[in-house]
Amino acid sequence: MSGIENAVQDAAKKLLAENKVDVVIGFAQGSQPLRSTPAFIRKPEEAEKLTWNCTCENNLANYLRKKEQKIGVVVKGCDSRSILALMKENQINRDNLYIIGVPCSGMIDRKQVADLCEGKEIIAAECTDDALVLKGHDFEKTVNIVDVLHRSCAACTHKNPVIYDEMVAEAVTEQKEDFADIEAFEAKSTAERRAYLSQELSKCIRCYACRNACPMCYCEQCFVDCSTPEWVGKSASDIQDNMLFQAVRVFHGAGRCTDCGACERACPMGIDLRILTRKLVKDAKELFDAEAGVKMEDKPALSTFESDDPQPFLVKE
């Protein structure tokens, strides 16, 4: 890991020293162990603040839309897919962007780590290539990173950035797409699916962190914030409204969602949101053979029409 960290710092330092960019967006150590925070580095001497480890989970593509200044950005595979998807939607000007690509082997889920430590306070943590050393007041524990990965990272199919100006390390091996989880959920009865989703969404507090964390959610006025007309009830106590909110939020990402998992990672209530987003990723793949944010020349799945597009939704006659 430290090799990548040094390479990221060097790349940032060079970019800033040569005045190629105005700011480098990367990660810095957060105020707590196992926390990284997005960092905005403007001077070459600040570049040493940049870190790279298994807690750099935010999707930095969120900071790149409609920016005038020249930006250097440190990206993982998922961030790069979001960047590519946003470039296609004319939200990012590639000429103003310098992409420092980092092959990513997955980020850890702090909730799983906390469970493994039985809720005991972690006062220090150290990430190595494949293990995590946790220290508390009266314990020390080593866990394998692969055992505590975020679900989106464990299922990731694009660990290596799909677009970059510079790659700071060797590419890692990719794995195949597997929709077994969604297929299993589809196979359940309507009542079972309803029951599971209403239980999950009963936890929703309508903080809209999922919306804000999503790089693809950028409407200037979101339908949930409208009051005239009020498209959806604002109270989190009505589960049907929570479901409607998620249905619309998820559907806005149809054919655009890159399954980066930022929504689920941002959720403070631990709601299983990828059960919804991945359904649409799977549908887009199956119906239109479309994968968001992978190739610049691919047309957006729902903005193009071909006369031979499948139409399984039509009333059967």
Binding site: R194, S198, Q199, M243, L244, F251, L276
Partner: protein
């Protein structure tokens, strides 16, 4: 994809219907609407996305 998502989320199968009908095909439109109305009548009133009998979150009220 919308129909597929809604049915996945628990809207009764057959409650969401789509078709292409040209403005000049009045007869076909009436026929389709008739069919859909019949189908929805068979499904009965829409109970919404959550099972009210089972309480808000699957708990028994």
């Amino acid at each position: 994809m919308l129909k597929s998502l809604l049915e996945y989320m628990g809207v009764d199968e057959g409650r969401v219907n789509f078709s292409w009908v040209s403005a000049s095909e009045g007869g076909r439109f009436a026929e389709l609407v008739g069919e859909v109305t019949e189908k929805v009548k068979q499904l009965g009133p829409n109970e919404g996305l959550i099972d009210k009998k089972a309480g808000c979150c699957g708990c028994q009220e």
